[in-house]
Amino acid sequence: MSEGRVSALGGAQSQGLVNIRDIGLQGMVSLRADLAQAAKAVEQVTGVAMPAMRAITSGKACSVAWMSPDEVLILCDHAQADGMVTALSKALAGQHHLAVNVSDARALFGLSGPEGALRDVLSKITPADLTTLAPGEMRRTRLQQVAAAIWFETEAEARVICFRSVARYVFDLLAMSAHTSGAVGHH
């Protein structure tokens, strides 16, 4: 039953130097395995080739993000996540792995705006070098006091994933960084 399913901030939005929004329910599956061995199974299930180190690659229905040498995160439709776990486990039968639905453990934010402003706003709260972060690369880092992952879908659209429990903190951080009179003009 899908009744009563809500994302962490129920679609909250904020306008400023860049616009920030809670993207809502997003399917996420964490897969831990020997990535080289699992590549075929992952491609078969998600339709996306195994990403290279730090890359996030997208297909029709899914994106696959490289998280660590033995972990990828699969982004898919929220309703598909449990099925994705089952399919992966089946495709990886006999290979040591762990596939688990983590959709509800996370929050996903979309940031849109001019490229320079996007990089400036994020640079107020992360030590990661955003000057060199190109679309298609995911940077796992911290947003001030909490862990997060950042990537650019396009030059004008960035994504941030954090844990669900700190979604409000991250949203407030982003909104304050995007305060209209706080332009930096560095990027």
Binding site: G4, V6, H96, V100, D104, A105, T126, R168, D172, H186
Partner: protein, 1010 residues
Amino acid sequence: MSIRLSTGGRLIDRSRKIGFSFNGKQMMAHPGDTLASALMANGQMIMGRSFKYHRPRGVVASGAEEPNALVNLGKGKRHEPNQRATLTEVFDGLEATSQNHWPSLNWDIGEVNALFARLLPAGFYYKTFIHPRPFWKHVFEPFIRQSAGLGRAPDPRHSDPDRYEQFYAHADLVIAGGGIAGLQAALAAGRAGLKVILCEQSAQWGGRAPIDGVEIDGQPAADWVDAAVAELAQMPHVDLRLRLMAAGVYDHGYVIGYERLGDHAPGQDTPRHRLWRIRAGRIIAATGALERPLSFAGNDKPGVMLASAMRDYVVNWGVAPGARTVIVTNNDDAYRTALALVAAGLSVPCIVDARPEANGPLVQEARASGLRVLTGMGIASVKGLRGVVAVQLCAQDGAGEVLEDVVCDAVAMSGGWSPVVHLWSHCGGKLTWDAAGAFFRPDHARPPTDQKGQGFVICAGAADGALLADETMVNAAKSVGRVLAEHGKSGAAVPVAKAAAEAPMQPVWVMPAGAGVKKRAKMWLDFQNDVKVSDVQLAAREGYESVEHTKRYTTLGMATDQGKLSNINGLAVLAQALDEDIPRVGTTTFRPPYTPISMGAIAGEARGEIFQPLRRTPIHGWHEENGAHWEPVGHWRRPYCFPKKGESHRDAVNREIMATRNGVGLLDASTLGKIIVKGPDAGRFLDMLYTNMMSTLAPGKCRYGLMCSENGFLIDDGVVARLDAESFLVHTTTGGADRIHAHMEDWLQCEWWDWQVYTANVTEQWAQIAVVGPKARAVLEKLGADFDISAAGLPFMAWAEGKIGGFTARAFRISFSGELSFEIAVPAAQGRAFWEALLRAGVEFGITPYGTEALHVMRAEKGFIMIGDETDGTVIPQDLGLAWAISKKKGDYLGKRAQERSHMTDPTRWKLVGLETLDGSVLPDGSYAVADGVNANGQRNTQGRVTSTYFSPTLGRGIAMGLVLHGPDRMGEVLDFNTTKKDAKGEMRMIKARIVSPVFFDPAGEKQNV
């Protein structure tokens, strides 16, 4: 008296006027003025009082090194003390007040300290306030506190209304200083394509060159500066920042920058300050040099200032500190001030040059324009009380016999220049003494080194000791060339700077050289802290040979300017007194920040709602809407209880417990850690992590377990559920989730990397709700489950999954209360919907949400331990009567070897027992059981302590757990526990408590096992 000149002032906009106030008096200024220039333009020479003697002081410098002109800025919520008038840009409506005086700036009662200056030498406080001992607390300290401190702290009831932020940046090259050296370096690096951040602490580019009449490539320096800035502004990879000070340099190329965005333009709604946290490949410190004062008697009087500062006020702001200015110098540069004053139509009665001869081009120019140049001379004293009325001249070589009185109202002094080597030194760069210039400059052979062991700070221009404009340009080009070479690039053509040549300076540390003690006691070194030549000499006589000790004994260089102005003068005086070379005496340590930065900038955005991340469960919103009283648990907020209108917290807790014990309660347990452990070696791995056996747990079953550190101490506990042959779900404590997951990964990655185990922390994937009490099953049945939840189908310590009320759920038959209990996990996105569904289904059973306090009391009634209450990092499971949960069969587990050490097996370790007060009262938290006798410190001996203590509404009395010497063997014995209260005789009041079993309620476990 100081005045605004009718012409000149390259930085001010004479077409506009703005109003500001000083000590309540309305004054006018022009945009571009600093508070110091504006005050002088209004005839206000006295701007502050010194710290110790409360001497009246005027401005002595024009920049960051200013020790005297410190003021309070703003009022109310925006009040801020100790702001430098020389760095404060005036804006319309600025309010400043002077500080460190009473009752007024012009008449300060503390000035009497100066009359007793002879009695207040260096170390006076250390020597005087020692005896008699009791006087410290009642006489000396209150007196010192009353007179100590500069400025007035902001009202603690106010919170800062401004916004602050931080900014992380990454650059190939950070250039600190926007003078001609910094600009030239930026041009070269920018043209070569490096990512550059060029920062300048002031509001103007160009530094000193435009003031000093320098020509670059045949054009006035100001024009060259404008062109350079224009070119740099076109480069997208170069970030130009005014009002951004490189405050500190740290390990591995880390630079802290301090950007002032709102100070000069309040009301714009910008952040007030922005703290830059920059990772720089290389740092060029083009930070220039600072002029030094000369040490002559009365050098601290208002109207005596640095020659370069005098020039700045005239040229930059069209302000004349005096009408008749005597110049006193040991170098040629000060002649520029004489010429600038004359050019502005001001009078220079004479130039007093301590050198026996002076014939450089600037000197000749001064002579040619009719100025009187006196060589081999010095100032014997300055006459005037709150300003200068005359100076007395003497031979520099003598003892100060007065040769002539010269009437004047200002003195411009120059004792030479010191490169600003702070950024070079912050991270360990060493210095070398330059005898020709009498200054410390960077020792290129010993730079601060980065992660690759390479020097990463390079000084350029005057900061590297190249003081003259032509040398500066060449030096800057060479410095940036080294950075470019590392990138495989080369620099462009070097602009040619032209400035008048200068004859060598001659070090003069005391003026006149043979001054007696009376004069030396009037020669200021540290103006703000009132440290004089005589104080440093006294310190040397009293055996302070180390410069670091002398600094602390005399407070030389410990004022808010941190010795920028005259530390070198002090070191030289110390060296002379010790009959040592200056380089052998050395310098004190340069520490960041270069000038003070605001606490707001350091805090950044971390205040108010986002001071810390506040973790919220999926059901947080419901708790908030239903009046939860919160308890912080780590970064989580958990409901402590849900008080009804007019109900006390204690009453609410009691009500929640009784409702749960007699009906059904509901707890949000989502914060409990949940970690999946999967793989062929998962069982083996958990056997190493837990003290008991986990590999034998059957799928569908749950088992309680203990985790210890390798040190043997208990670190976490919880229930493990076996999901399938290869998968376990590990429950940790709320605080343990991240810590235990990291602990698992540590052992898997670093010790047993060949074991096939994967972990995943799924704590936040699930909302977990405990349905607790005799009616728990009835509530679930009402909601409807598609799997067997009967006592037989889902017995105690089993788990099952399926749908409950349509929600996909896992139900664990585990209990932390001793009641029939189902802990039910549903996906977090549905957590609140499920919680509300349970509440609706439970209405007829009187379902009652309860908080953490009810949870704590109920677990204590059952004698269940709580990590963090019964454990404190020194407790092992054996102390807690948990030997049953320690496997005897296993050859190894983390902590097993440590638990075999003699201290761990010591039979006198305190052990867990229950405690029941004889009068039914509640023992104080942390109370100790006293024993006979006293220890070596005269304190009562102890034989146990309380670890948990509550009022039990179930039993109607106080219950407690505690660790007691031989406790389990002393059942029934009565102990005395201390309190913080005293009885009628003034003795510590004790509470008597009997040692009992820690299981106070339902010892057979009949209630949970149904």
